[in-house]
Symmetry: D2
Subunit: 473 residues, 4 copies
């Protein structure tokens, strides 16, 4: 029993708790069956019990018994089949909303006298009851993690069951409070880190897959490599998000040299540049609760403090939507594609084009220019780039600094972005300004390379476009 | 620079941050003055700046700049004079409530179609804007602690300014979520604990004052003493609540032997009883956010696990309201006070009565019986005891086990409870039942000693009373 | 610079130290060249410098400069080619022995008056000077680890250069003091342990090779698995020795089920038996400095404390010398091999015999009996078993409990012990007695199975032998 | 049972061990009584048992039983009365020396052939048997600490029993190896340090007594204060030596402002000077095992690394032998004391002279000059200063920088050094050189102030002296 040694630790599963739980479980089930759903057949199964238990948990005053009941509920939910889980989620969405009678009552009071007390009562009445239920489930040991998994189930079912949306909103609302950046801890992750955390780094790496422990070690142990993650005290062994960093003597333009087992190690105190070459979220259940921007900025600060010689903080990022966008543009024969461009782009359809020096030289200018256009032209309804990575970094206040041809020639890199990688630059003095312009005016901060390219393009009459570019370099 | 060594730690005050803050502070102040309150005179002072900064913080999209602004605000608030602080709190209560226009708009939609979306919008519209402001202030390093202190200021001003009540309610609402038991960590406190934590134990001990470090050591270091506290990750050096425990071979009936420097140490594995002789909250700013019941139950579980020989878990508790209640009863010549009783009670008015064997023997039965009556008769409007300690332990599911004459002959003990101490017994098998009966039916669980005494009293016709007692022994 | 964050830690390579070292290195080298070996040609290379540096280190009074010089020497040694290293070791063995003049002087004094002071002087004079040199080298950060590696080099060269033996003896003498069990720390090793330690578990596992991280995880993470190692404060990331344990409900007789990824996990608190199925030393440089017996006994104690239900502590051990011994016995046609036995043993020569039920049933009794004979008969000159594993466990006070046919059918298991595994039982009450009998009288403690088998054998006249067996069951 | 939670920790006192010990104790005692001293009367008491147990421990092969026996012995010793302890120490000194027969045997072999093997045998034979006994006692949990206390007892008895000297030498020999600087850990000590360590700082502070916890806090918590200590892994809660440091903007000349509760705190990153104002050894039992010089140099390095702005590292040190020396000089009417000097020095005999401005102004030049003379003239037989603090710092390579009049007007300061404090300067570039000159040529490095003063003195014919001063400034 590994937890034995810790003795005093919160949430250790003790014999007493076990006994209390058995007793309470017996009584709870009996009570639930009798009191709340006496006429339900046993065949109705566990999810009905969960619903009743939820009502019971909400109705109790006893906080101590509440802890036990919360635990029973979360354990029961974890053991359920997917269909039963979904049933319970739907019940939460449907049956644990706000109490209509209370709302009407509060509305009456408000109409009589719309004072702060009445507003407060109305606010209270309109809160979905499941929010309080979630807070009470969170009392259980491991409750936070269990609720994050429940949210993951909710997200997974959302397309099929759009009626789960209000439930999902409530998860996001509570998680935004619980996972407030003030509660997160930044920790370095290196080769002395616990294996139980490191295996999650392997599992969750979403940008450049980690093939095995040797690959992982190569990203953590060399003196010119760093990794940092945000952790929450209640999910102690689970990094919520992590970033992998290479210390270099210049802005990297390709990923392969960074991951090379035999790369020449740079003495950290001589490095001038920190390259953030991968940033991955780990918890599907925390989607929409943002902390990535906090992570990058904190890491920039801490690295600068530890290594004052670092001058440049830059990403090496994928262009996930590019190939798809370009295919459509070519199909639609967009006006910016003249004959020469069309001919060059046709080379993309040939297998292994990236290995052929002649082809790559023809493609290089065309592809880079197309990518610049992609960032400037390809917008969503709200005027922001369709590229999610661009939205993330530009939204953080970085600027689009450079487009790197053949930066990532892995199968994934070729298929989703024709091998391009880009650098987003985090210039400390401009972050705030860039950020505001991006959100206020949908302006995209760009570096000199990008601007020059777009000016050249603009000079050619047929290629003009009206996007505002910020001179961020 | 002590923080230097931590290097990577979240929230370390780095040179970069300092620089960013200076820049932003300059810009923020300029912006605030220009944009929001350009016509306010400088003489209006800092609290107006805080208000404007609050509006600015609420209006921003930029999370990173939000962190900096939150920090500036909390620092500025901390430096303000008490009157200015109160001014800001009043502004929060008055000017950061829900947006009336949004409410009316949401109400219109709801009237048209009272569907979940409309309820959600109404809920959102009725949320006081200061709740979101608090969440954003919490982004700052040390934000949680600063908000707890702000709540303490609010509480301190509440009597004079009842209009702060809505603000206070919002603090409690958010803190209940942030200080959910799921986020608290139980830690042992002993003589190897950090001095910075131990000094707080000395400072916060509220039941039996700790006179100095020697006294503290005597409560922590002997093998038959234990102390545990709840900690929150964001208030790392601040126990939120702590309990002091003596391991004994029987239910203690007086405090002095427990605090005696020369007490004979009991080998822990031979102890049968754990006596909880002091439990203290530390954070005024967390008043109303309860975790005391969780603490006791967790400590009971953990002690039982570590020392399976422990059979009895009992408090040694003060009776804070007793002397005051008894004085009133005597003044009002309540019917239960017959002549003999009256004569005996008159001894209480004599100085140093507790040192006179004859007087104490006369008082013993009368005082203990009066105390039993106090617990049974002296009720608040909701039917629960006026004694706050009784409400706490009985509400936790303990039972009133024994009343100890001359248990605490300190000046404080004599003046507030005529020297009585009581034992509340936490019987694991009965906690849940006692708890429910207390909350559902206002029934008080009592042990054999108390019941016998009350039966004897009841047998005397003039003393009957109708309180229901639970046979909890 | 990963060590940056630690700041204050002893041994951090700081800029100041670096500068001091450069200065001192320059001066040391100059000094060494001038003062001590001015006429040596540069071509003589580094080992001469090391020798001179060693003399210099021994002659210095300055402890601070000694630290720096020790560091320089260890760094220089680490960078040398193997032949140069050996040259230095030979110089240590040859030129850093005791000072003959001092010995003669001390002898003179002793002859005049053999009092304690004279004995002390003689003792001091006869101490090889390299012992003091080693103590001074140990002042350097990382010195202990460097000296352990130097001893490993010494051991590696010992066969070729028997004149290194005195040097090797001195290493063992000092290490026995430095790695005294009192300075070792027992630590659990599990899936939350640092990867940098875990990779060493993979590398050093000497009994049942760990194929990859998945295999490792399977030995550490399940609730019924344990691993413990001894650590020394100066070799923080290096387990000196570790043992892998399976918690079971009976004495295991084969290794495969224990290593099976899909084994059914036993709840630890229901386990009755702890099976020590692998114990590995890690530091070649510490050969001859024994701590294995302390490890097993400490682990037995700690497991018993944590899981009081454990009743049986037993190994599952290889029989490394058996196949080799048996081959010789068969070749020499030893008298105990009768015709039936010979015929059965011939099956061992057939490929994949262990997969053939008929063959295995014929071999089982013969092989097990032969193994019992191996333990009892196959002795070294000192009367103890030739089997090193037997010497280790029997010397620790365990008894030979059971011989398991086909316990290990891995290629290694089949080739070195025809698939046998044995259980050595650590019976707490008998350890001391068994241990003493083994060392005092070379008696081997055996369990009932073994004794019965040997009695049966003995009953057959041709097989009698005179070994004394201890009834340890 | 506080150690319960650690569970797996080495040396935890477990039930099994307890049982083993009881059994073994019974058997050991029986054995000892029977085998070794059957005819000793019980009245002879425990020390005879210890001697026999020591012989038994030395004769055993069983390492596991050795651990238990070592523990029994150390426990028994700890419980003995002082006289019995001394008896055992005398027995160690007398009866556990080298074996004379073995020596003669080894001498014979050596005379026949004085080869390395014979030298080794002679070395082994001349080792006092108590050294091996100490190594075996060190196997016990807490053995190292117990042996350090035993050495303290030895030191305490040394004056009365000079025959303990060989025993004391053996302690120093072993401790020098065990407490090698390579095994020590430098740790910062601050207000977050464990109370159990801090109380030892209070207890052991030997230079400027710490009056209470408030005083301690004032030396640890302000941002411009530091404290560091060396720790040994086996004496985890015992700093072996510690130094208190103030960060300032200039070389302090008096102690009171440093200890002032209301001193104005210097921002560490603006400090230019680190003042080591107190350095204290804690373990009497480790007297003669030096680590003070390592401590200061390591702290200098680490401070310089953390606060690169620090330029000056200087002590503020007492002059413990000055008043005593000066009294003798005055009594002997040494030639350097002319009439004016004599008259001024007579003021020292007046009470509260240090509060009288006129007197202090007369005394200032005379006293400072006398102190300079004290450092230069007052020498021991080996040519080094009689002042122990001077020997320590000058021996470390510091230079005598400045003599401060009225630097310490505490009663202790006035009585032992007429209120003087001095600064020793650790100039990184000169440490090595100063150190070597001090040890090779007994030269004292001095700063400009001292040299000028002595030059002035020397210019006056009657005051010339021939001491060599190093120009170290």
């Amino acid at each position: 029993m590994k937890s034995f040694g810790t003795g005093i630790a919160t949430g250790s599963m003790s014999a007493i708790v076990a006994e209390m739980m058995q007793n309470l479980a017996a009584r709870s089930r009996a009570m639930l069956r009798r009191g709340h759903d006496g006429n339900r057949r046993r065949a109705d199964g566990a999810e009905f019990d969960l619903v009743s238990a939820g009502e019971s948990l909400l109705s109790r005053r006893g906080e101590a018994s509440g802890v036990v009941l919360a635990r029973l509920m979360l354990d029961a939910y974890a053991r359920q089949a997917p269909a039963d889980k979904r049933g319970f989620l739907l019940a939460l969405a449907d049956g644990f909303g706000a109490n209509r009678e209370l709302i009407e009552e509060a509305l009456g009071t408000y109409r009589d006298n719309p004072n702060p007390a009445a507003i407060k009562a109305l606010h209270h009445a309109t809160e979905p009851r499941r929010q309080e239920l979630m807070r009470r489930l969170n009392l259980a040991p491991g409750g936070t993690a269990a609720l994050v998994r429940m949210r993951e189930d909710t997200l997974g079912a959302l397309t099929a069951c759009p009626e789960l949306k209000p439930l999902d909103d409530d998860f996001v609302h509570l998680f935004s409070s619980w996972f407030n950046r003030g509660f997160l801890q930044l920790k370095p992750i290196d080769w002395t880190t616990s294996a139980s955390i490191l295996e999650k780094i392997i599992r969750y790496e979403a940008v450049h897959a980690i093939t095995d422990w040797q690959d992982l070690r190569n990203r953590l142990e060399p003196a010119d490599r760093r990794c940092f993650g945000f952790f929450h005290p209640q999910l102690a062994d689970e990094p919520l998000i992590f970033v992998e960093v290479a210390l270099t003597r210049g802005m990297s333009e390709a990923i392969a040299p960074l991951l090379d087992y035999d790369h020449e190690v740079v003495a950290p105190e001589t490095a001038t540049t920190a390259v953030f070459y991968s940033i991955s979220n780990t918890q599907k259940g925390l989607a929409g609760v943002s902390f990535g921007n906090f992570l990058i900025k904190q890491v920039v600060e801490d690295l600068k403090l530890a290594l004052p010689n670092l001058e440049t903080f830059v990403t090496l990022s994928p262009v996930p939507g590019f190939a798809h966008w370009l295919a459509r543009e070519r199909k639609e024969e967009s006006s910016w594609i003249d004959d020469a461009t069309r001919a060059a782009l046709a080379l993309l359809d040939e297998p292994d084009w990236h290995k052929d020096a002649e082809k790559t030289e023809m493609l290089r200018p065309v592809l880079v220019a197309a990518a610049a256009r992609y960032y400037i032209l390809a917008k969503r309804g709200d005027g922001r780039p369709i590229d999610p990575v661009a939205r993330f970094h530009l939204g953080n206040g970085a600027r689009l600094e450079r487009i790197n041809f053949l930066g990532d020639i892995s199968a994934k890199g070729l298929s989703q972005s024709h091998g391009l990688l880009v650098n987003y630059l985090y210039a400390l003095d401009d972050i705030e300004k860039n950020h505001e312009l991006f959100f206020e005016h949908a302006e995209i901060a760009t570096g000199a390379q990008i601007r020059k390219m777009l000016r050249d393009e603009a000079a050619a009459p047929s290629r003009a476009n009206g996007t505002t570019l910020v001179n961020a370099g």
